[in-house]
């Protein structure tokens, strides 16, 4: 990992490119691989990210927006060190908390308590601290009564509450968040946002991937728009959201004119 310049930059992505080979039919076994030796399966190469470069300074709140499938989640995974980039590099200074798809990492056959221990670990809370504080985490989500109940028997609302309360006990320098409040109700979302504001005011760095454009405008310092794996805009959140909305409006109107043309 390369060292970062000492000007308060905590996260740097430089020329990041990531492509996936996606075979039309995926070969999932040796049998298929051998059987398919003589029948070449055309692979589609999808460039999920191309030439992504940006820096994040300590204490910034960055919003990343874009269409579904534009590469936002892949970008976050590359930043978190889950996917190695094909080209370019990523450097992060300090501890990272990857809060990706909260709650989906739960193991349905384990109790709430065990899931707190396992999930807390992947989000970067030391196990020692988790053993001491799991009750606190459970109480925070209002589910103290269900410590030994398997997650299988939880409602989806309970699951997301538990996931978020684990996440809010994470203490890291950089938070990578993916659609954290996609599943919750309004109350849950408000709770999440106020928690993010707390983090921001205590000098933590946040990179948030979301479809919630209003929150980006209201809370982020800076926003990045990604279109088909490339950076389309970086800067002021209001402008970023405006550009995103405009591009969609344009698309819609062009679609509309196409249909009108067809009718004529």
């Amino acid at each position: 990992m390369r060292l970062l310049p000492k000007d308060g930059t905590v996260l740097e992505a430089k020329g990041v490119r990531k492509a996936f080979e996606i075979p039309r039919e995926r070969r999932n076994s040796i049998r298929e691989t051998v059987a398919d030796r003589f029948r070449r399966i055309p692979a589609t190469r999808i460039v999920a990210l191309d030439d992504i470069s940006f820096e994040v300074r300590s204490g910034e709140f960055i919003g990343i927006i874009g269409d579904n499938g534009c590469g936002k989640t892949t970008l976050l995974r590359v930043l978190a060190g889950i996917y190695p980039p094909d080209r370019g590099h990523v450097a992060i200074d300090g501890s990272v908390a990857p809060l990706l798809e909260l709650g989906s990492g739960f193991n349905p056959d384990l109790s709430a308590r065990d899931n707190i221990l396992v999930n807390g670990c992947i989000m970067g809370i030391p196990l020692k601290e988790l053993r001491l504080r799991w009750r606190e985490i459970l109480a925070h989500s209002g589910l103290s009564k269900f410590a030994d109940l398997k997650i299988r028997n939880f409602s989806s609302g309970m699951v997301s509450r538990l996931a978020f309360s684990i996440a809010s006990f994470v203490d890291a320098d950089v938070y990578l968040m993916d659609e954290v409040f996609a599943v919750g109700d309004i109350e849950f979302k408000r709770h999440c946002l106020s928690r993010m504001d707390d983090l921001k005011s205590s000098g933590k760095t946040i990179v948030l991937v979301t479809h919630d454009l209003d929150s980006v405008c209201k809370h982020a310092n800076r926003a990045i728009l990604i279109e088909k794996g490339r950076m389309a805009f970086e800067g002021n959140p209001e402008r970023c959201v405006q550009i995103y909305r405009d591009s969609h409006a344009k698309k819609e109107s062009s679609e509309l004119s196409v249909t009108l043309e067809a009718r004529r």
Binding site: F20, N28, I82, Y83, G105, N107, V118, M123
Partner: protein, 241 residues
Amino acid sequence: MATELKQRYSGSILGILWVLVKPIFLFAVLNFVFSRIFAFQDPDYPIKLLTGIVLWNLFSEASTLSLTSLVSRANLITRSASPMPAFIMAGAVSAAINFFFNLVVLSVFASFYAGFPGFRELGFILAAAAATLLLAVVVGLFLSPFFVRYRDLNQIWEVVLTAGFYFTPIIYPITLIPENYRPLAILNPMTYIVAFAQSVVARQPFEWQAELAWSVTIILAAFVLSLAAFRVSSRRVAELL
């Protein structure tokens, strides 16, 4: 690790008992066949057989669990930069918990033959178990990234394990291997580990020190090699899960 054990047996009525029933049942059948039908003369044959089964069981479970460990932890691996070798070791070590239950049964059983194992014997058995576990981890490190790509690898591994059970001197003594095949036995690192554990439990002198040393050396070398191989082969695992 504890979570894995809980997960595997929670919901089954016999619970932890299953861990004991499986090897004992296998033992009962094989013991009957070879003591009565083939009429092996060695009075210590049953205890050696059980030792071999328990140790092989450890290898077979540990290697299978470490082989599948990356796939069964997919939900963690795709969500954080995880220490993947740790998952493989955890898979192997969770099999060790079963081994300890089996070891209790083995010890009780041994008291009818050569006598209840003392500290010295237990120490040797644990050393043999540790070597076995390390070999299972080597298998996991080499193969688990490929299991992510080829999901039928575990079925192939099952066949290899069945073959290994018969190629390892478990149901027959090492001396039954014809002299001209004997040098090949070193290629199976389990051969002399099992033979060593059997002579420890039966309290008989062990004649193959040099071969045992070689087996352990082979395992250690393979471990170093497998760690290096894993670094390369595991790079893109998260994308394929």
